[in-house]
Structure formats: structure tokens, C-alpha cells
């Protein structure tokens, strides 16, 4: 199959930079698969599982909020605040962060803090579920 250039960037590092055959990510309107020759496209990514084809396998990663962009030259860029390979997720840490968020949600806090805790919970749950699936 034909390959395209993919870069996955976070402010802390370049997470992935190589050629790949396929990228699967979950956007606000559901899972999309991107192959070579995709039309120029920009979409928001929600906390979910993202898959990148490496060799003959799809490697799985947990991704937080972000954005995927297909440029006119066919290069694909994923920008996100946090992304981890599923086999590198620290499940114990994710569990701790989940417990913390749940505690926050139960405490009667302000609307803002409630929203923050909810987002944190979503991310933690996503990381745990991605880690367990693989």
C-alpha cells in the first residue's frame, strides 16, 4: 500500500515522525481512517484510541484532545497535548488520576471545577481502557 508522511507532535516532544500506510483517529464526528491521497482536511480529535500502521500492524496509542490535519501536499500532522503508546501507559498513574477526578466530582464544587474534573476523568478513563484493550 502507498505511504504518506505522518508527524505526531506534542509541545514536549515529537512523538512520531515517519511514513505510514494508515492512521485511524476519533474525531468529533466519529472514527476516521486516513490513507494516502486524502483530501485536505482538518478535524478535532477527542480523547480516544489512535492507531498508526507500523509495518504490517496497527500500533495503538491513547490520545487526549487534539487536532488532525491533512495538508495539500498530503502530509499529515496530529497536534495534541498528550499521547502515549498503549503498551507504555502507566495504568497505576491513570487509576490514581481517575480516583482524584472522581473525588473532585463528588465534592460539591463550582461549575468550572466540575468541568475540569470531568475532562480529567475522561482522559484517565480513556488511557485505562486503551491500555487494557491491548
Amino acid at each position: 500500500m502507498a505511504v504518506f508522511k505522518l508527524r505526531v507532535l506534542t509541545p514536549e516532544k515529537i512523538f512520531f515522525e515517519d511514513e505510514t500506510e494508515q492512521l485511524i483517529a476519533k474525531t468529533t464526528s466519529g472514527y476516521v481512517g486516513i490513507l494516502k491521497g486524502h483530501a485536505p482536511y482538518v478535524a478535532s480529535i477527542v480523547p480516544s484510541e489512535m492507531k498508526i500502521k507500523i509495518g504490517s500492524e496497527l500500533r495503538s496509542a491513547a490520545i487526549s484532545d487534539g487536532i488532525v490535519k491533512v495538508s495539500e501536499d498530503g502530509a499529515v500532522t496530529v497536534l495534541t497535548s498528550a499521547v502515549e503508546w498503549s503498551d507504555e501507559i502507566d495504568v497505576a498513574r491513570a487509576e490514581r488520576s481517575k480516583a482524584r477526578a472522581e473525588k473532585q466530582l463528588k465534592a460539591e464544587t463550582s461549575r468550572t471545577e466540575f468541568d475540569l474534573a470531568e475532562r480529567q476523568l475522561k482522559r484517565a478513563v480513556n488511557r485505562i481502557s486503551v491500555a487494557k484493550k491491548n
Partner: protein
């Protein structure tokens, strides 16, 4: 004539101070190197985020609360300084700029609220008559993106509810090992995006350009804060390294002077003793 014992004691004390300043200099320069690497790693991400934001605002008629230009003139100043002193003018320079900006806003009839990052910044604004809404001491070293994302989320929430209608950043940027400059930067509302790059009107936005733009804002804000904090931390270490280097130089100069004084005093004492002995033996012979 200087007292030999006193001079000796002073030399010892200067020597031990110099050991400390030397050690601090070495620690600062290794921390600086690491922080610089982290600060540089942010660039590719930012280029990507800016590019998408610029594409959207150039190619589409769109509306976002984050680009609105109406002003009630209430501004959130996010001030980033260090957690510790002994870094030359690092803290005082950036805090001076922050204070000037806050006063400027107040003078033009606006309202400035402050969010302080770094212990020195928190202390500075607590002591004075400013509206400090939140302080984050001791987070710069070993900062992770999740920390700044949390701060960014809070700021965005409050921006949306209209607590303030602009967000500005005051921090120190690393120019070179010798120079670090205090900086003032507006991050919200997002400005001057329209002028970057060429048009790509064929791009599909899912679900819509507006929503993609708004969903990018937390990443933009969190990344911006992260990069400013890392940049400021690198500057702090560079400033400390320079300050400690000159302190060590001064100490070694001082030791040289004191040693000279000590040797003179010792020589004077020996001369005096010889004079005493010889005059005593002269007296015995007579």
C-alpha cells in the same frame, strides 16, 4: 597593622562562600542546558498550531469568542518569575515590567487581575495592592504539560464567562547565555493571524472551521504557557549562572587581596621579632 588572625578568618569565610557560589554556578549551567532543550522542543508543535489557526482565519469568515476585539479593558496578566533568588536581576526585571503593565492598565481606566507563577512572583503581588486571583509557586522546575493544561483550562473558562477580555503574558525569554529579556505578549484574543501564509480554500473542516478553531484554543494556550514557563526557567538558570560566576570571580579577587594583606602582616611580625631578638642580644652583650 592588620590582625593576622582576623585576616586568616576572613580568607576562610570568603573561601567557603566561593565554594557555594561555584557549586551553584555548575548546577545552574547544567539545569540551563536541559531547560533550553525543552524550550526548543516546543517549536514544531507551535508552528503546527499557528498554521492551522492562521489557515482558518484567512480562508473563512468565522466568529469566535477568542478573536473578538471589543474591549471592556479588563486584563488578566499571567506573570512568570522564579522560585528562588540569587539570580542577579532576573526576578526584579520581570516583576518590574509586570508592575509597569498592571499600572498602565489601571491608569487607562482598565482593570488588571494577576495570576502569578513562581514563588517570587506570588510573594511580590501578595505584598502589594494588586488583585491576585491565583498563585502557582514551585511548579517551574520539572513542569509537565498536564500542569499547564490545567491552568490553561481555568483561564479559558474564565475568559469565556467574561471575567476578563484579554490575557497577557509577562515572562523572561532566553536570548543567549548572557542575555535574558523580560517580555510582554498578548495571547488572548488571538491577533494578527490573517496575514500568515497563502490561501487553501479547499480544506475540509470537520465539523466546522469555528469549532475546530475553538477546540484548538486549549492546546494553543496550554502549549504557550508551557513554553513560556520553560523559557523563563532556562533564563533563570542562565541569570543565576552569570551572577554566580561573577560572585566567584569577586571572591577569588578578594582572597588575593586578603592573602597579600596576610603576608604583609606576617612579614611585619617576623621583622619585628628579629628586631626584638637582635636588640635583646645586643643588650646581653653589652
Amino acid at each position: 597593622m592588620a590582625n593576622m588572625k582576623d585576616v586568616k578568618r576572613r580568607i576562610k569565610s570568603v573561601e567557603s562562600t566561593m565554594q557555594i557560589t561555584k557549586a551553584m554556578q555548575l548546577v545552574a549551567s547544567s539545569k540551563m542546558r536541559k531547560a533550553k532543550e525543552r524550550a526548543e522542543a516546543v517549536h514544531p508543535f507551535f508552528e503546527g498550531v499557528f498554521q492551522v489557526m492562521a489557515d482558518i482565519s484567512r480562508d473563512h469568515e468565522f466568529t469566535s469568542v477568542f478573536t473578538k476585539k471589543k474591549f471592556k479593558n479588563s486584563v488578566l496578566l499571567i506573570v512568570i518569575a522564579g522560585d528562588r533568588g540569587l539570580a542577579g536581576g532576573f526576578n526584579s526585571n520581570v516583576l518590574k515590567l509586570a508592575k509597569a503593565k498592571a499600572d498602565e492598565i489601571a491608569a487607562s481606566g482598565g482593570e488588571a487581575v494577576i495570576m502569578a507563577i513562581g514563588k517570587k512572583a506570588v510573594e511580590f503581588f501578595e505584598k502589594r495592592d494588586y488583585d491576585l486571583i491565583e498563585g502557582f509557586p514551585q511548579i517551574a522546575e520539572g513542569i509537565e504539560l498536564v500542569d499547564t493544561m490545567m491552568i490553561a483550562d481555568k483561564v479559558i473558562k474564565r475568559f469565556k464567562t467574561g471575567d476578563f477580555d484579554a490575557v497577557e503574558l509577562v515572562y523572561t525569554t532566553f536570548v543567549s547565555v548572557m542575555t535574558q529579556e523580560p517580555q510582554h505578549l498578548r495571547i488572548l484574543p488571538v491577533e494578527n493571524l490573517e496575514y500568515l501564509g497563502t490561501k487553501h480554500p479547499m480544506t475540509i473542516y470537520d465539523p466546522s472551521p469555528d469549532e475546530v478553531f475553538d477546540s484548538l484554543i486549549p492546546e494553543y494556550m496550554g502549549g504557550m504557557l508551557y513554553s513560556a514557563i520553560v523559557d523563563s526557567f532556562a533564563s533563570e538558570q542562565a541569570a543565576r549562572r552569570t551572577a554566580m560566576e561573577s560572585a566567584s570571580d569577586n571572591a577569588s579577587e578578594m582572597i588575593d587581596k586578603l592573602s597579600l594583606l596576610y603576608n604583609r602582616a606576617r612579614q611585619a611580625q617576623i621583622t619585628q621579632e628579629i628586631t626584638e631578638i637582635s636588640s635583646a642580644s645586643l643588650n646581653d652583650n653589652s
